[in-house]
Amino acid sequence: MTGTMTTTDDAGGSPAPGRRRPSLQSTLTWSAVAVVGAICWGVLAIARGETISALWLLFAALCSYAIAYRFYSRFITYRVLAADDRRATPAERLENGVDFDVTDRRVLFGHHFAAIAGAGPLVGPVLAAQMGYLPGTIWIVVGVIFAGAVQDLTVLFFSMRRNGKSLGQMIREEIGLVGGIAALIAVFAIMIIILAVLALIVVNALAESPWGVFSIGLTIPIALFMGVYLRRLRPGRVLEATGIGVALLLLAIVSGGWIEDTGLGDALTLSKEWLVVALVVYGFVASVLPVWLLLTPRDYLSTFMKVGVIALLAVSLLIARPVLQADAVTDFAREGTGPVFAGSLFPFVFITIACGALSGFHALISSGTTPKMVAKESQVRLIGYGGMLMESFVAISALIAAVVIDQGLYFAMNSPAGATGGTAESAATFVQGLGFDTTAQSIAAASAAVQEDSLVSRTGGAPALAVGLAQVFSQAFGGGGQAFWYHFAIMFEALFILTAVDAGTRVGRFMLQDTLGNVWKKFGDLSWRPGNIIASAVVVGLWGSVLYIGVTDPLGGVNQLFPLFGIANQLLAAIALTLCTVLLIKHGKLRYAWVTGVPLVWDLVVTMTASWQKVFSADPRVGYFQQAQVYSDAQEAGEVLAPATDQGQMDQVIFNSTLNGILQAVFALLTLVVVVNAAVVIVKAIRANGLPTTEEPAVPSKIVEPSGLFPTAEEKRAMAEHGRLVGAGSGRSEAEEK
């Protein structure tokens, strides 16, 4: 069915696959994958009450990914999008060695994955584990296959066909000015919330933890040293510098344990408020400093740590084969009364786990640097779809880490201080009330094992994940070392959250300067120092104040803000999927519009239900305005409602809840503006059987490169043939010379 590829003639040597009868070997292999996957899912579905190995979860996911990649992503790439390797990509046409740059697909896969994967897929699944392991697992796997990876792939493809235009630009040009402006505001506002919530997770992980603060603090001088090394001492020797940096980083983690009980340790025992100040100052400085000094070297460190830890975790899970401690589906999923976050399974599991299943933020990256570097069109399948499957795998691993720890401890750690009372004794009473037999002694012992003063109410997901990782790692490699592994995990999460925060601040600053530059020309000049400083201060000030509100919220910042973060991210996904659906229809592919249309409808149902509940619910645990109402009624009656302890905190709850409610409503309305604007365009496009788009005209490609990770025999022949014609010259594909 190559009928949709009508752009060029059929003479090219591209390996655009037509329909071929699959070989017996391929049929047998894929049947086996399907059978193994089905058995794993079957075990998860049937098992109740007995002990189940976490590997069933892992392999259910892996088999599903393999099948989805082999069949569904191929269908989308070749049939729906009609990727055509005879067309030159913008990297080839506009190559300038700076942003447009033909990049080896495996290298670009690494870049793209490093850009999309962060703390989101680690934290969301941990929080969602309060509903049991099954809802989270199903959403992560089904969500990525039919929504998340589809979004990343199609946005990447459409942006690539438009010379790497950004999401906002494409919406303005393809949907309309109104939608474009709404999308621009939404993207900016959502980014601020995301940065604030990410920073909140770091604050919660580092508060009252001198070991953590010391190790994370040391990453700054380490990065500065690497920056100077790469600039002055040995320019460009990135591997050397990174090697030294990683070694120093490991030393920083170990040495945290030495300073803990010293005077320095006391000095580094920071309250949450002080950590907010530190982060805000750091974010501002990082945004105005030249990138080579801090940002670039930090990014190397965080990327290598990220990939290293993920690989380590995958291996450890196979060795340790931990047993699931959580129920498949807990009572909180049915009743919506969980202490970690309020609300019932639908819609709140689907917004708590955003990254890892469907993350709107990825649309910004898929329409940012990546599309300008793709060598061949068909490679979007590996990079867009494959990259997101990999992130989903990270999410599954994080979920496993959260459900293999003692579940009483899990709830003691993840419930806000207002519920647990803050001490091991009161927390034990609290979780015993939930039906666990965890004792105060075992909570205290768990804290002592990782050398933290207390693990009670260490919300945000990062500490619980670190406990899970420490357990899996020490189980796999023996020899205890829980405290090292715990701080190793905290460091690794904090490191890339901070990288996301400073990179995000910078991107926000550029967006602000660019937008205001339309009104005030001078401000748009990126090299104008005062402009940089003002824009940086505004961006940092915005996320910093949301962060401060979250940190001091008597109801628990994570409890209050995480839903806002999740909904915001999913609303951004709705905006991206809307654009993709509009484009499919404008390109005259109405019969395939369901590919992005179905996940779009699902996402809209989820996010609008969640937004509606967060704004209008009469349950004060869910609805922000109802919450504010309950507290202000109590205040008028002269009462103080727990967990607030005085009138000041009552005021705070009322203010915060009202603000959260307003933000929530604004995000949802902005998304609806884009959707309504898109609906108008869709109706027009259907009537006209397609509409002209801003797609760049086809130019024949001169590059021959494989599509997938491993070149097929046919592709190797084509490359060898091409190499003879052009003459050997490029050393780019050294690894392929076999």
């Binding site: 700076v98 942003d99 080896d104 495996r106 290298v107 690494g110 870049h111 490093a114 850009a115 999309i116 994967a117 962060g118 703390a119 989101g120 995301i194 990410l198 790469l230 600039r231 320019p235 460009g236 020797r237 990135v238 591997l239 990174t242 030249p290 990138v291 080579w292 670039t296 990014d299 190397y300 990254c355 993350s359 933020f361 990825h362 910004l364 990256i365 940012g368 640097t369 890339f496 990288t499 996301a500 990179a503 995000g504 910078r506 991107v507 550029f510 990126l526 991210n569 010259g729 050393g731 780019r732 050294e734 690894a735």
Partner: protein, 72 residues
């Protein structure tokens, strides 16, 4: 498969190849290999290459203007 006859030799060849591929990947991934590309390009066109310091400086300046997002 087409390496030295002994199993030890085969292992050694495989290890060397794996190491070389890893190094290739890391150098490409971090952008370190861009300098080699540049030197090759200069040699091909008969230009005198700028110093490594100057080259990396320009790359850093370009990175300054093109911020990359990091997701959550």
């Amino acid at each position: 498969m087409t390496s030295a006859g002994t199993p030890a030799g085969a292992v050694r060849t495989a290890t060397v190849r794996a190491w070389r591929n890893l190094r290739w990947y890391l150098r490409e991934f971090t952008g370190e290999a861009r300098w080699d590309d540049y030197l090759a390009h200069c040699a091909e066109h008969g230009h005198t290459p700028m110093s490594r310091y100057e080259f990396e400086r320009r790359r850093a300046d370009a990175a300054e203007r093109n911020p990359t997002s990091r997701c959550c």
